[in-house]
Amino acid sequence: MQVTTAILRLLIFPGLFFAVPAAWLFLYIERKTIAQMQQRIGPPLLQPFYDFVKLLGKEPLKLGGIQGLLMRAWPAFSVSVLIAALALIPVFPSKGGFSGDLILLITLLELPSMFYMLAGFTSRSIYGKVGSMREASLSLSSNLLFLTAVMMIAVSAHTFRLSELAVPAASPARWLGLAAIVLCIPAKLRLNPFSTSSAEQEIYSGPLTEYSGSDLALWELAHGLEWLALSGFVVSLAFPRTGFKIADAGIFAFLCIALVVLLATVAAATARFTIDRSVRFYWRWSVALAVVFLVSAVVFKG
C-alpha cells in the first residue's frame, strides 16, 4: 500500500483534518440531545470548540519527572490511536486502503480505555485510582460481550478483512452481533447508565481529576473521537452500499448521527448503575449471546 495514501488518510480524510471537527460535532449532538430531552435549548453549535480552545489557553500541568511525562503522554496517545482507528474504518470498501483487519481495529478502539485507566493510576489521586478500578472492571465485563459479538460477526462472514466484512448484505448473525456491540458502546464511552468511572457526585472526575489545561482538552477531543470511531465502526458494518460514493457517505453520516442521538437519549433517560450492577448486566448478556453463538455455530455448521 502506498505511503502517500496512508499519510493522506491519517492527516486529511478521515484523519486529523476531518476527524477533529467531526468529533466536536458529535460532542455537540450528544449535549444537544441531552438538553432537548430535558426540555432545554442547550449549548451553541461551537461549544465543544470553545471548550477546546479555552482549555488550550489554561495553565498547564505543573508536574515534572516521569509522572508528568506519562500524564501528558496518555491523552496524546489516545488521540493518535483513535485517529489511526478512524483511518481503518471501511466507509468505502476498497482494496486500496490500509491493510489492517478487524483485529487491529478492535485493538486500536480498545487502547484509549486502557490509557484512561493508566491516567488515573499515574495521577496518584485517590479519586483517579477508584475511577480507574471501576473503568477496569467495567471494561473487563463489557469487552466480554463486545469481543463475543465481534467474533460472531467475523465467523459468520468467514473473514477478518474489513474491506470484505463491509461489502456483503447483513446476515441475522451480523445484526445480532451489531446489536450486542451497540449495547457495549455506553460502557466504552462512559455514558449513563454505565458512567460509574467518572461519577462526579462520588469521585469528582474519576481518572481525569488531576488533569487541567491542554491535556484535559486532548481528553475531551479523545472522547469525541471515540464517539466517531465506535459509531462509525458499527454503521460501516451495518448499512448496505448503494455504489455511489456521495450517497454512501450521506447514509453513513446520517446513520452515525442517528446512533449518537439514540445513545444520548438513553443516557439522558437513565440513572447511573452501581459498578456491581453494571458488571452483572454485561456478564448476563455475554452468557446469553455466547450460548446463541455456540448454538448457531453447531446448527449452521459448514
Binding site: R31, A35, Q38, Q39, R40, I41, G42, P43, P44, L46, Q47, F49, Y50, D51, V53, K54, L56, G57, K58, E59, P60, Y127, S198, E200, I203, Y204, S205, G206, L208, T209, E210, Y211, S212, G213, L216
Partner: protein
C-alpha cells in the same frame, strides 16, 4: 497573534466551567446554586458547566462565611484552579459574614483570604442573580490584561473592617 488572542479571549468568555465550594455555609446558597444549574434555567446556553474537579474549573463559586476549619481547604482549592481564574462569592455570608460576623469560629469574609472578583449578595441570592454573577465573572475571564492573577494581587487587597478592628485592639489581623 492578535487574532489568536482575540479568539482565546472569546472562547474564555463562552466556556466558563464552575467549581462549587462550601466554606461553612448554611446550605441555602448551595441549594440555590444547584437550582440555577438545573434544567429550568438552562445555563448550558452560556457554556456554563459544573465540573467535578477544581483543576478543570475557571470560576470558583464559594458560599459561606469561611469558618476556621474550612480556611485551609479554601486556600488549597483556590490554588488548584489553573489560571486564568475568577472567584464568585455567593451570598451575603461570603461578602460580609452576615449573621455569623463576630463568631469566634468564623475567620471570613472571603476577600480576606483570596481575591474575589464578583459578589452575589442575598440570603440566599436568587438563581437569576447567581447566573448574572457567573456571566460577569466569565466576562472578566476574557480580559487578557487581567490575567494571570499572582500572589501580588492578593497582597494589594485592602484589609476588611474586621481586620482593622483587630489591628486597633492590638490583635493580629488575619492577613
Amino acid at each position: 497573534m492578535k487574532v489568536l488572542e482575540k479568539l482565546l479571549s472569546h472562547c474564555r468568555q463562552k466556556s466558563p466551567w464552575l467549581f462549587h465550594m462550601n466554606s461553612g455555609s448554611c446550605n441555602g446558597c448551595d441549594i440555590e446554586l444547584v437550582a440555577s444549574i438545573a434544567p429550568r434555567y438552562d445555563v448550558e446556553q452560556l457554556g456554563i458547566h459544573l465540573e467535578g474537579s477544581p483543576r478543570h474549573a475557571d470560576i470558583l463559586c464559594i458560599t459561606g462565611p469561611v469558618t476556621y476549619n474550612t480556611l485551609e481547604a479554601v486556600k488549597t482549592v483556590y490554588g488548584q484552579v489553573p489560571r486564568p481564574k475568577a472567584v464568585v462569592a455567593l451570598g451575603s455570608c461570603a461578602a460580609s459574614c452576615n449573621a455569623f460576623a463576630g463568631s469566634p469560629t468564623v475567620v471570613g469574609p472571603l476577600h480576606r483570604h483570596i481575591p474575589v472578583d464578583v459578589y452575589v449578595p442575598g440570603c440566599p441570592p436568587r438563581p437569576d442573580a447567581i447566573i448574572e454573577g457567573i456571566a460577569k465573572a466569565a466576562e472578566l475571564l476574557g480580559h487578557s490584561e487581567r490575567r494571570p492573577l499572582t500572589d501580588e494581587d492578593v497582597k494589594d487587597i485592602p484589609p476588611c473592617g474586621g481586620c482593622e478592628a483587630a489591628a486597633a485592639e492590638g490583635e493580629e489581623p488575619c492577613r
